[in-house]
Symmetry: D2
Subunit: 382 residues, 4 copies
């Protein structure tokens, strides 16, 4: 416990996310958006020149080329970091998280949580032992409208959930761009760095997480059909699956990275015995509420009628669009608040995805891949 | 061949569709919309009083209470009908079609084509023997934007089709309205009148038909999960299924009659190696064309840049919305034109769903139901 | 009074609207859509061959080349027409209406009502003297969502109306198509046939009519700025105007026929002390209701919660789009019902635009043109 | 010139924007978003306790209660601020700007630029004399889609601009909230703090600025009708106006703060001789391009086909929504870049609204108010 943490910004470090990375800058902006944290150290590349240049571009105080060294030095420094951000390819998530957790440093990590289920199980145990905060950036749960959707479900406005349609479709891998220098495409289609799944691991896990976040229902079983449409690609770039939820509800999850003309279309529709809900990430400030027999309602983030949870995730008045970065920053906002609480002995409040969510996501990926490999048969999930 | 048919309206009769029926009035309007046909006779109810009242409401010349009698008398009358419209519950489609085809009268029938596959096979043979025109009112294929979608696929603008997402979701059976006097709900949830399937037979067949109409691809195999959410209902009211197309493409088809807040949401999205397409029945005059890497285009019915086939299905300038009835009437327009051609010995041009489509639809329904009953396993679809 | 009219379709004749005309076919479809009327006679062209061909294409019983002759013969025939449809250029509206009204035949006329205010005043008097029904096809008032909007205003849901934004913008005259064979463009830009105004007379009158229909408020004064953007055109093709309403509310009306990319965009937004409303003709089945401080509601035609007036204008269940023709047919439906009522001595129910609306529209046009010609000054209206 | 500025963040101070202020937090986030600047000092309130608390909440190094004192001390400090942010009510814009400019500190100021035209003229001269950068936060010009719109106009894709429809409508002053403790409402409706105009000064100026930014056309003359709908309010809360552009094009500008159900609806539509454009702030990442006779195109920020200027204003891949804060930050990004350039003797690149824009805006407001006061007559602008 550090008594003076209230009088300063939280200090963060970052592993990965160096120059040219999309997600590195996202983490930086999201972490610092509310003025409650600053990134002061980074191991942004193992290449010394790139590590240095990346750190300079952000005016970081300390640059490393090794995350182990960073973990050691930061954990000993008087002004060392409070939290580390993991923005590496998947295969590095676990070793990096381990190095920092073991040295008492909180962790905010990209998803999917680990390379495989085994690592995920170990990480869950490690987090528990460490007593540190571990947050997983299923950032789409940070949108106010998503939190409003969850609130409506909890309030019983939807009734018993019967049907869920969730999709996450893009087109950025429609061509074999991994062979023409797209660095992110390169590692995301490489099993050694990405794990056993491409599309499902990358974006299907967001869809699974969103479904469970809003409905508070787990997937009981699934039947998945994975396809690699681009010749020579080592991992699937498209997936369709049938879902059965733990409450008897049914669902569909589809994700794709070869859906021509789709940008970043994460959408969910939920149908209950009393009402329906629809949300689309590309128009994120709107939630459509569809009570049976009554007019549909357009719920808008920032409005006074929104739930407290949605309001807490909103910075601007209605009609001033907040987007991807703001939603991402909402995850950070909750984590930073919990880091402060933890420092003064208060109980963390949560509200963001945790290691348990990450483990569930990794098991989901494993079952999806197994289902498809065994002829798209039904698999129980846990 | 009747030489003077060019100088008069086509004469139509109708079986079913009496007062209180939704679809009866739809057929009347669609048949007569272009001023090329008139309904002159009807066996609109087996109840004499209702049959008479229904006929009077439409100013019909001849009212019957028996379709057999109607078939016999009309086929012998000098001014007898050229074509019969079948607007009955499913179990009557086949016997009525048979009665009129055997007497040389063309048939326009509601879908699904018959009560089961066996009847469908017989009907296909019967149509062939009769030499008469048989059209199935998969009316959604009548929309100009749907025909434009097909034209774009045929022109190669979409490339190889990889993924198809088609859905048809409604909420009119969310409550057990079949027990509270909704006549259509009553027969559509009764296996004796509707057949082995509820939701899939009623609207899933439209989705299947639309998919094949636009893509010219058949479903090779499927895995279906049917659910009856409303207690006590004898047939499924919701269905999710995975599809594999004959060309290696993958797909999802979902249909529901318990999706709270959904009106009549038939939508299709098609993704190919070059571009995507999206169409929604509830905003039918718009087709979104999504070429990879270029701006999406909003194609609008009535515009000069539309295909000839789309233009032929359009009556108004752009921005003057045409809807469900006009699309339905487009099926009639093509059938009426073919009836005239047939009368003068010309080859019918088609363009509307036929008995072959109806048979494929019935086989689709049978496989869907079998898949679900056997534990949602994969089934080949011929 | 004709006692047997209940047992037959209403008989209609048409003047103008011959082959190649857009609006002729619209009238035919709208008149016959509900199976309550049939067009049996026409003076569709003064060119004998074209008149004959047009009549044959519609299987009319009687073709004329002179509307005077038609008026005389039809008024004397045992099976003569009950009502005449006027589908000519503007300058013929008045003489044709006069000829038929004076012979006791009801009239349905295209807008604007006459060539000028003087004719409009005479026509109002003539209609009154004749005791015949006169309906003006401000067809956009036929949409269920428009009628719902009026119902909400009447019920006080909007509060005191403060601001109205109405627009009607198209692009069909962006190029000088009147010089390259577009027949409609030719007469609509010719003062001798169209009157003193182009764009305002053609579509601005629809906007004015819609405003007053929904709000029940008249325009008290206006300031208009008319422009002819296409060189050599004799009448304005664009207009902007400020409005002051009789209740102190303010408004804007803009109309254009040179707004690139606009099809037939008639839209209205109304803001009151309690709520707002928005409707767009190109997505006509949706009305957005915007209560202050509460979620916006999406009101949809066909739903049970709609007003009786909206329901009476709806033929299909929700989600089955009805469009321009159906709205047009709703005007006919009300007129036909009144023709039957009139025949049995019942009081007509109205609900459709009348000669009084037509006169108000003509005065509006006159003031708009005068305002603009005098330097876009403010003019009192009436 | 400070040679080492490249190696540190730009230091900013803020005047106004203390706790409870909406716009203060917006400036902080926007200034710091790209990691190139940090706010280190503030005179956020004249109330000492509030000034201190506001500064602490942001972890500022130096808190002042007087902007004059701040200007003096910061201009002398070794680590003094490079730029000041003005986030006060309108009447303070000019004195604060003056104080800092005269001490060689760059200025970023809220709009409208000053309390009146006289101050605006003085400020323009002062900026010129000072050689400092002065940027006005007409933040909506920061959206990538707005910059794309300007690029399309410049490339000639729209042709000669004929008609512009711009609106900015809200409902936050529908009730007299200035009397019930809404602090922003209180000063915005007070002539002593807001100036001679309420609605037009606050949001109408954004609309005017957007119009000119995209089209590069000035308003030549206007006719305005201002209304105060809420009783007892001292300034107008609604305005409608006709515009004539310097090139002969025509336009409409409407703004309102009493338009029930409207959040922050700034929208613009531009119609040229070749194509149209439409953009709405509430769905800011989409620009509709409407070439005459061809399909409309949906241009999306982040796509490779966008202009360089639009791309430079984009941080995320397509489909990852960027919103109000990101657009605001784009203004800062350009200003910060120019501050660095200025420090090394390079010519500033601009791209953001300047004092000249601010002066034009103030003259616009003055003419609007005069027009309305003199009976809504036409006024030349400049």
């Amino acid at each position: 416990m550090e008594p003076d943490m209230a009088h300063r910004k939280i200090r963060a470090g970052i592993v990965g996310g160096g120059q040219g990375s999309f997600i590195g800058a996202v983490h930086r902006i999201a972490a610092e958006l509310d003025g409650q944290a600053e990134i002061v150290a980074g191991a942004m590349s193992t290449d010394a020149r790139r590590a240095e240049a990346s750190a300079q571009a952000w005016f970081l105080k300390r640059a490393y080329t090794s995350f182990q060294q960073m973990a050691e030095e930061e954990s000993r420094a008087a002004d060392g970091i409070d939290v580390v951000i993991i923005a590496t390819p998947n295969h590095m998530h676990y070793p990096v998280a381990k190095a920092f957790l073991e040295r008492g440093i909180h962790v905010i990590s990209d998803k999917p949580m680990t390379l495989n289920v085994h690592e995920a199980e170990e990480l869950v145990a490690l987090v528990e032992r460490s007593g540190r905060i571990f947050a997983l950036t299923h950032n789409y749960t940070g949108y106010p409208a998503v939190r409003q959707a969850r609130a409506l479900v909890r309030q019983g406005e939807i009734g018993t959930i019967r049907k869920v349609l969730v999709e996450y479709i893009q087109d950025w891998l429609l061509e074999p761009v991994e062979r023409t220098g797209n660095k992110q495409a390169s590692w995301r289609t490489d099993p050694a760095q990405a794990g056993i799944s491409g599309c499902v691991g990358d974006i299907g896990t967001h869809a699974e997480n969103l479904l469970t976040f809003i409905t508070d229902l787990k997937i009981a079983s699934l039947c998945a059909d994975l396809t690699t449409f681009v010749e020579g690609r080592a991992l699937e770039d498209d997936a369709n699956m049938l879902l059965r939820l733990e409450n008897g509800g049914k669902g569909i999850l589809t994700c794709s990275q070869i859906a021509a003309g789709e940008e970043n279309n994460l959408s969910i529709r939920i149908y209950g015995s009393k009402a329906g809900l629809a949300w689309q990430q590309m128009e994120p400030n709107t939630l459509i509420f569809k009570p049976y027999g009554r007019p549909q309602q357009i719920l808008r983030s920032g409005q006074a009628y929104m739930s407290d949870d949605a309001k807490a995730a909103t910075r601007l008045p209605p009609g001033h669009p907040e987007g991807f970065l703001e939603a991402f920053a909402n995850i950070y906002k909750m984590v930073i608040s919990d880091i402060r609480r933890e420092a003064t002995g208060e109980k963390p409040l949560g509200g963001y995805p945790t290691a348990a969510d990450g483990l569930r996501g990794m098991r989901f990926v494993a079952k999806v891949v197994e289902s498809s490999q065994r002829g798209s048969i039904w698999m129980e999930v846990e």
